[in-house]
């Protein structure tokens, strides 16, 4: 699920937590929001009602919740009175597979000493609630792949706005290749933050964690400002890949794109990359900077 629907200017970035509570808190009745705006008078009259525990979203079914099959009288789509043979029965889009490919970033970045090309793509194929997800992200500079992470995941919808993702990740590029098992969540937090958080377990006791968050602010219907942050944390040093333990790297970017169509939008932006701790030290030893601000220009498209 990658989205493009960021609705309004919201300043409360602090509501973004690492593991959101599946939106269970969202939609809980809150008097402070009622009675403002569209329906000034009427809802004030409801003040006497206790609805602190009413939820419009998420939650779990109470034990006496209605059985959706209670009216079937024993019939199924394939059996029972007047049923057509199963081979003939109606199959709608919920039983068909669909798919899509989003190239969220395909960009050239311009630094003080070097330029590079980066890509970040996600593809899916399957149903609404279970799908095969491929994520690919990487950097190419000086004529070779510096860093490439490719993930093959089973995405499973567990809540209204959230999918779990379970699968494998392969890292290529400078240094030896690494393989990981991946477990993560991806979805939409309250206030329209797109969040992608994944934990990884590799061989020789390696662990890693990656958190990405994006927000899309509509300046106009087609001009969209997108702040984006990404953090990478490693449980153990991997000097061959120039990674230290702990918080290794962060990226904070701001891109503005123009959607010629929903599916094709060039953008420009700025991105700050910072390395921390031992990772920063390893970079400096290689003669590289431990932090850099770069201009980026690229294109976002999907099909």
């Amino acid at each position: 699920m990658k989205h493009n629907r960021m609705k309004a200017l919201v300043l409360a970035v602090s509501t973004l937590s690492v593991f959101p509570v599946w939106g269970q808190s969202a939609g809980t009745m809150d008097h402070s929001t009622m009675g403002h705006g569209d329906q000034p008078a009427a809802s004030q009259g409801m003040a006497g009602m206790a609805h602190g525990d009413m939820q419009m979203q998420g939650g779990s079914a109470p034990p006496d919740a209605r059985d959706p099959h209670a009216y079937s009288g024993g019939n199924t789509l394939d059996t029972g009175d007047y049923a057509l043979p199963p081979s003939q029965r109606l199959r709608l889009a919920d039983e068909h597979k669909l798919g899509g490919v989003l190239i969220d970033r395909l960009e050239r970045s311009y630094g003080e000493n070097s330029n590079s090309t980066a890509y970040d793509a996600q593809a899916w194929y399957g149903s609404t609630y279970n799908r095969l997800v491929v994520k690919a992200e990487g950097d190419v500079s000086k004529g070779k792949v510096q860093e490439a992470r490719t993930e093959l995941l089973w995405g499973h919808a567990i809540a209204t706005f959230w999918d779990t993702q379970l699968g494998v990740r392969v890292d290529n590029g400078v240094g030896p290749d690494r393989g990981w098992l991946a477990f993560g969540v991806q979805g939409l937090a309250p206030y329209w933050f797109e969040v992608d958080a994944t934990a990884y377990v590799g061989d020789q006791g390696r662990t890693a964690f990656k958190l990405g968050a994006e927000y899309e602010l509509l300046l106009t219907q087609k001009l969209i400002l997108q702040p984006r942050v990404e953090l990478k944390v490693y449980g153990k040093s991997d000097t061959e890949r120039r990674l230290g333990s702990g918080l290794a790297e962060s990226q904070a970017g701001l891109r503005v794109r123009y959607e010629f169509t929903r599916q094709f939008a060039p953008y420009i932006g700025i991105e700050r990359t910072s390395k921390y701790g031992q990772t920063a030290k390893l970079a400096r030893e290689e003669g590289e900077k431990d932090g850099e601000t770069r201009w980026v220009a690229g294109v976002r498209f999907w099909f």
Partner: protein, 597 residues
Amino acid sequence: MKRNIPHSFSPRIAIPDLPRRRFVQGLAAGGLLLGLGPMIKPAWAQRAATSTGAAPVLEGTEFDLTIAETPVNFTGSPRMATTINGSIPGPTLRWREGDTVTIRVKNQLAVGTSIHWHGILLPFQMDGVPGVSFKGIPPGETFTYRFKVGQTGTYWYHSHSGMQEQTGMYGAIIIDAASGRSTQTDRDYVVQLSDWSDEDPMRVFTKLKMQSDYYNYNQPTAIDFFKDVSRDGFKAALSKRKMWNEMRMSPTDLADISAATYTYLMNGSTPAANWTGIFKPGEKVRLRLINSAAMTFFDVRIPGLKMTVVQSDGQDIEPVTVDELRIGVAEIYDVMVTPGDDTYTIFAQSMDRTGFARGTLTTREGLSAAVPELDKADWLTMGDMMGAMGGGGMAGMNHGGMAMDHSHHAMPGMAMGDGLSKPSTTARHAKTEYGASTDMRVDMARTNLDDPGHGLRNNGRRVLTYADVHTIGGPIDARGPGREIELHLTGNMERYAWSIDGLEFGQSTPVHFKYGERARVILHNDTMMSHPMHLHGLWSELESDGGGFQARKHTIIVQPAQRISFLVSADALGRWAWHCHLLLHMDAGMFREVVVS
């Protein structure tokens, strides 16, 4: 149902704004292939172009309909349409009450097809829903429909296969009384509204799966926010957005598909082509308004004329005079107008206010009147999201002190004694409504019928509501309901998933009615969209929230966060379809089978 799209062209990327004017207005001559010289015409274009703007009328008891792909050009880009006898709309079929009609439908497509006779009572094998009531009409084959016509009024027919309805497969049905045609009318016109997209409808569906607000170019922006701040202050501007943003719901989600891809048609004519009905001043003109759109609700008015609504879904009603009415997808209203010596615009704006269908009533061909501006698209209200809680419909609420406990534990089918004299009001959410398939639940829905709906409230015009619609003669069955069946309309806009009780069709089981029973159906809308719910084969007799008979309908709009009830007499054996008539909602799984046995 076959998923193959009967189009030979490849989908193109729509550029919503550039050819905007032509998109919205369409071409003046829909059937012509403009811009294609004879030398470069592709093979398919050699076929006769689709006839648009004037459906032929076929009368009698024997009919031959041929389904084929024919070229059409509504926007400047030639496309293939799926047509009935080569026209959009298909021929108007004029039947007579009491006759047995025979309709041979020949399929010249490369995929299966079908025709469903919308609102007609008939044996289920003749209802025309592939995979539910028959096996469909395979390519090259002819299926013969034969049934006795036992009713009168205005109805329509359309394909029930894939997305063929979106690409042109619909027509009108007029059934005259056995005693003869009404003499109350001097002129009689079908006004069939629809929506056309140059895009492959299945591609449209896939796009909505990727990005459900793809066609919404009316989203709140930062600029709107600063406007609100300067007008109402920072705090008010923030609180106006708080709930929507917390819940990740859009206040401008008024329609899934807009004029960004749609051109709206009246009798197969674009606004530029301007369908025209002729009258002599002082004549009584009957307009049979039929909404054959795939996804578009229309708000219809004729500036300068009052409309007297005399029929709803083919059923005569106590005449009610209004300025404007909202016609949901698949609904039908017959209205009478008496125009003076002037020219009038029939103006049908889409509910999301992005475009309109338009035609003209005039005394001679070639005249036209001013076309109104589109109304402004307002945000949905808290009432549209939260029902009675949000202040919607407070006036009509009859919750008896909001008692939350009784009927909460009532089991389906359990005798509730006097509890059945009025529709229940307490939401009983299904246990399958708490997962990924739903994005909200309404605990206290609004039950009043006197709400014209979002965008029509307090607009200064007299707008029809369901509270105004009273079918003449009362219910077909005097019995009260023996039990209550409650179904919730559900969806997840972000995933573009639509369902009933949180279950898409593939996971569902049929709703069983015992043959001969009279039952109450409650439809409780746990979404922010209006859903036109169509039960095949059986009438839906709409009740007021007090349990009184209101109107006999084949398609009932359930407004956002609304809870409506109707009675059903299960007098037709077989398997029937029951679904939201928004084509993509239906295809997404907002669909149930009904078994009467």
